[in-house]
Amino acid sequence: MTLTVNNLSVDHGAIRALNEISFTVAPGQIAAVIGANGAGKTTLLRTLSGLTHATTGQATWEGKDILGKKPENLVRSGIAHVSEGKSVIAELSVKDNLALGGIWRKDKKDVALATQEVLELFPRLQERLGQSADTLSGGERQMLAIARALISRPGLLLLDEPSLGLAPLVVAQIFQTLSQLRERLGFTLVLVEQNAMSALKIADIGIIINLGRLVASGKASDLSNDPALRAAYLGY
């Protein structure tokens, strides 16, 4: 259950979005990927979930190559990606959005069980099951998106900027929930964030990228205590 990324480069046309990135996330760890807008964080997640093609390099999950595979197949090997901007389908009801999480799974009993679990975790969603997803608040949408991913029982959860556009209190709540969930369910989490302080607080390791290059990686506490990194990239 280890995620290994080795010399990964991704091009968007003529522009190199990611340049020879390497890191390893051990099983059950939370990795926070930190960087400014346009650093290549989202590209990294999209590449790991199969939405974007890599130019060169390798990435493996549970010892198996994941580059060049389709997202719909990677989900089946336990990689769940909650993409940027509260990835829910506004035209569908909350219930249908949740159902999407388990739609590919054969074990319908466990899907029902997992759905029950996430509804206990996010009681707000239980109250709004029949509503259309576009009636939800930003925080609720983020919960729904995470809940959907959890129903697929992921081994690796890729989370893109869950704090985007949310009030600080809600952000704190979501991060706390994530931390608890990891304890309980034992998945590996790669968290992309601009909100470096909150992310590094719950993370085991930090990965700082800037303009597509790896700037620093290591224990989260070490990174957040490095005065040079704090001044240049972490912004606090």
Binding site: S83, L92, D96, I103
Partner: protein, 298 residues
Amino acid sequence: MLAFISTLLIGITVGAIYSLMALSLVLVWRSTRVINFAQAGQAIFSTYVAYEVIQRTGNFILGMAAAVVVGALLGALVEVLLMRTLFKRIHSGAVAAVAPVIATLGLLGVIRASVGLIWGNDGHRFDAPVSTQAFSMGNTVIPFSRFNLLVIATAALVMIVFTVIFQKTSLGLSLRASAFAPEIARLSGIRVGSIRTIGWAFAGATGAVAGVLISPNDSLTPNSLDLLLIFGFVSAVIGGLDSLIGAVVGGLVLGIGKALILAYLGSSLDYPTAFVVLAIVLIVRPGGIFSMKRGRNA
């Protein structure tokens, strides 16, 4: 009053068929963002297949079934062979935006010509399975027949089947998710490509039903469904192109509107009506009567 009601019934009959054609256009539009003008061709081919089967077996239901199967297969085939190749090859250039439309137009031409090659351009004919004689109550005749009833019932059946599939099954959820947010659908493990093919197959089958229902007791020629395509398109636009319910309502609105105009203003306004309705809808409610959107620059 009786005259008004019977006009209404006729309108609903015609409108139900328009609704089916509109449904088939909307199904494709939702999954692929293409107006499939070849739908008229796929439907006419399926209808000729129904004609062949009915000719040989004398069984209307068998003919309808054959048309539905052939229509579905043809729809899937078009998506796999033509649309996939098209989207793989064309990304940029002056034509990119209009290439899909042009390709479906070319396909319409190919199918029409092929149908002409196989069955000739002269009119063919097959009979309705039940009477097309108007009902009469005592001395009053209502210009509404058993066949009209059958048309409405069949269209209603198709719509019920669709409602069940879309609202109650995981295939339906996959179809809806892929239509609204293909990327999230893929991340949820849905094989969006295959789902799109299924959408085209559904559309093909629906178009085939429309073709078989509108053709009995009329002259069947390679281009006899051209007007149905236009009326179906207008209905779909009235409904907002993205909405299945909108397509059904749009078809009924157009059908009833046309029947009223036919009854009270005369037959020469039949076709212009559709065009005027289309123009008014596009100008007054550019997003269709079911949407709040402003422009139509999809």
